[in-house]
Symmetry: C2
Subunit: 408 residues, 2 copies
């Protein structure tokens, strides 16, 4: 398709920076929403013309994000290149930078979101709280780590894991040894991490500009189901001001020390320390808008998508003040089966019952477990808002009310 410079494509308003996004999923799609209102529009490197984000952009370059020529075509004429995932090979990004492309975030930062071992080493170096971990290059390494942490082992693929993929919890040293043997044989680089007896998961999100400005959103509680984010509650219920501040400060420090630009999500474990006090340690990093930040679309002055575009083009960041006492985001994950009722009718049912529900869909077809949308709901108290958001999202998935007695 398009190979001309983004500056020359009619999709872009004159005098306004063009941002090229590598990736065609819902995150890029929702960046386009923000871009439109800012008077700009995105150039996309998409795998298919009917991908989630490609459906809604005029300037779409079809190609492969692992191919340097395709990346180059997408980058031509853009003021900044950014991502909706972290899987672009860093050697290509170094090459683009050498050719004068403005890549945000840059490969030196991005590598920490690509490689869990590199990330943990760096975090330990800057004094950020991480559970004990070790590189696992052999079955011997694995067994030594098993001994060291008393069998509380979480085994992780260093690269390519997401939504629960690439994470294992072996029940015995033998199971660990066998797993490690198989995975290493396949060429999967591995690391071990001590399992955390977490009380819940939190997410601290910030945005940072290349020139240094950083802004943090309120810390949220995120609820996982089978390793996939199911829900986010903002601000995190019952989180002390002191711990919230500590989590925000930690995210700000990581953004600075790692040179992150754009949005950074720091996924955190909350656990009880030896004194029985709530404490936090870092679980994962994402350098892009993140599922736990979708609530900002309806619950904050500035959404993570707008903030990301402002940050990667080094423009002043917006207020992260909240618009309601509580905002709950609940994911719409494809069920085992797709109900006969069309999605647009399911939306109608939800709106009929909850006129305040904000439904966001990604233009994706059904697949079990697939993220196809989310519901945001603002309210005054956690319990009610949470219940309503869950009912709404659940109806979109199953075409029935979870609290309807006739379902029992």
């Amino acid at each position: 398709m398009s190979a001309e410079s983004a500056e020359q494509h009619p999709a872009h308003a004159p005098g306004v920076p063009v941002v090229s996004v590598i990736g065609d999923g819902q995150l890029a799609r929702m960046m386009q929403t923000a871009a439109i209102e800012l008077g700009q529009s995105l150039r996309l490197l998409a795998g298919a013309r009917d991908a989630s984000a490609a459906q809604v952009v005029a300037d779409c370059v079809l190609g492969d994000y692992t191919d340097i020529d395709d990346l180059r075509r997408a980058a031509t004429g853009a003021q900044a290149v950014t991502f909706d995932h972290e899987h672009v090979p860093t050697e290509h990004l170094h090459q683009l930078i050498a050719e004068g492309v403005n890549v945000q975030p840059g490969p030196e930062a991005l590598v920490h979101a690509q490689d869990k071992l590199v990330m943990r080493k760096k975090l330990r170096e800057i004094g950020a709280p991480v559970p004990p971990f070790a590189a696992i290059a052999s079955v011997e390494d694995a067994c030594a780590f098993w001994e060291a942490v008393g069998g509380k082992v979480c085994l992780k693929a260093c690269r390519g894991g997401y939504d629960g993929h690439g994470v294992w919890f072996p029940h015995s040293e033998e199971e660990l040894a066998e797993l490690v043997g198989t995975l290493l044989e396949k060429g999967t680089p591995l690391m071990g991490e001590q399992k955390v007896a977490l009380t819940r998961e939190l997410s601290a999100m910030v945005a940072r500009r290349p020139s240094g400005e950083v802004r943090a959103w309120p810390v949220v509680e995120s609820v996982q189901s089978d390793g996939i984010c199911a829900e986010a509650v903002a601000p995190a219920p019952g989180l002390s001001q002191e711990l919230a501040r500590r989590a925000q400060d930690l995210a700000v420090r990581i953004a600075k020390e790692l040179g992150v630009t754009g949005v950074l999500a720091v996924e955190l474990f909350e656990y009880l320390d030896e004194a029985g006090q709530p404490a936090i340690s870092v679980n994962e990093l994402a350098m892009r808008p993140h599922n736990t930040g979708h609530w900002t679309q309806d619950g904050c002055v500035t959404s993570q998508f707008e903030q990301h575009l402002r940050a990667v083009t080094d423009r002043p960041l917006g207020s992260t003040a909240t618009l309601a006492p509580v905002t709950v985001m609940t994911n719409v994950l494809g069920g085992a089966e797709d109900p006969a009722m069309p999605m647009s009718e399911r939306m109608s049912e939800v709106w009929r019952r909850f006129p305040e529900a904000k439904i966001h869909l990604y233009g994706k077809t059904h697949r079990p477990g697939r993220k196809i949308g989310h519901v945001n709901l603002c309210g005054d108290d956690v319990a009610t808002t949470r219940e309503q958001a869950r009912l709404a999202a659940d109806f979109l998935v199953h075409a029935r009310w979870a609290d309807d007695d006739e379902n029992e």
Copy 2:
């Protein structure tokens, strides 16, 4: 360009209604923002590929909205056809309906937004408050009307006026007679209306579904400058609950009686009646999202753009609850000259000073007086919020702070 059915175009997610929008301006552009988040996307009938809305849609039919074949091409496969302006000839819409197209709002409603005389006759018929008016088909009609209203004449073109165009305030009977002679010779159908000694302008907006549901937003005060909307303050400051309710009820009644679907804006004059009490009369109607409703993007649970899409596809309407005590919308109208500072730098300056300011731009190039964007700002009190929104919009126009002493 595209002539295939909208259902077959990859821009549209399967199983979700496709809405075709006739028009390519900022209203269609902002409908696309709403559509994206609802998991759908618009099909557009646009005059040019680089028009405001065309920049941000994948499925763009290029054509002329006065050409029935072009309209037909845009309508093919759409669940509903709607508009971002009211200039499509009603005979074409009747033809499309005869061919099975779902046109919302339909021509029977739309004619009241196209022809000011038809509208006033209908409003008088249903008992809605309108100033005294008369058809003016000759200079004699004009002079008779001058006498009847004691020289307080506002002369209007029945069709095609907008933003102050097509409205005249003659100072003498001779001036009126000459004006009417010239205009009638050009073939301009005319009407006269008694000038209202208005205290201010208000706007009452509602959305209505074909199946009947109606929801009203809070009534706003709108400030005009040279016949163009400059500002909207929501809710209208100092408006009594009783008069606000009356304005909302009036808008609901007009929507029902005229069979309006989608968003209806009822522009109102507020004036003092014979008893010195505030009263309202209808000025204009618009059957689409309206400039005085832009504040809903950031100040309401449901924006007018999302509501319009839900209404024209006959889906349940969303909450019109506000998110802040006050929201001010200020238009960004091209100044006499376009400042040397690029627009993206002007945006940065505004954001640096007002991190809460929501800037919306339309991807339009500079032209004096042209609507190129608007600023929304939520706040706690009218005076401060208004002042800040004005400063922000003014900076985007002139690249200087209106309150900066160095400008004096």
